[in-house]
Amino acid sequence: MGLLPDEAKVLRPPGIVNRNSVWFGLCGWATAMLHNSLNRRPALKAGVHRQALFITVGWFIGYHLTKYENYKYATLDRDMNEYIRLHPDEFPEKEPKTFAEIVEPFHPIR
């Protein structure tokens, strides 16, 4: 974790297959295929080494981006919960209402 502080290690690490990795991998693959097309080569069958490299780079960046995203959301949640804990008067407990009390009376027009 180069750009993450030490406290981020308590968070659950994302799986190898995660949303950002898949997306960036696909973007890398699309870039390689576009590169092939623009150089008038068959899009899928040419430059397999390039496709593999771009997919891998995208996957790698996606994994670390997911870790960073998890950390950012975790800090936001922690700050929010801390604020709620320190200001209980701003968050009163409301007793739950039944639907009968909320719903307006129904006047059918047939």
Partner: protein
């Protein structure tokens, strides 16, 4: 000295910056540059190995810090 002679000299020293009109050729797909292909596949393998190692380190750290093992 004719400009063509000077340009011939250019091809020997800066192959990277520009391609000499007289000796440039289209890239030939039937003769791949195996060094570049090998480097691409090699760095692919290295990146995957790094990713798996980082993941296993992260999982181990997570378990250690949360006293799961």
């Amino acid at each position: 000295m004719p400009l063509g002679r000077l340009l011939l000299r250019t091809s020997a020293v800066n192959k990277m910056v520009s391609r000499n009109f007289f000796i440039a050729s289209k890239p030939d797909p039937s003769k791949p540059n195996m060094l570049r292909v090998g480097l691409a596949f090699g760095s692919t393998a290295v990146l995957w190995a790094l990713l798996f190692k980082q993941h296993s380190t992260d999982v181990h750290e997570y378990k250690t810090r949360n006293w799961l093992e």
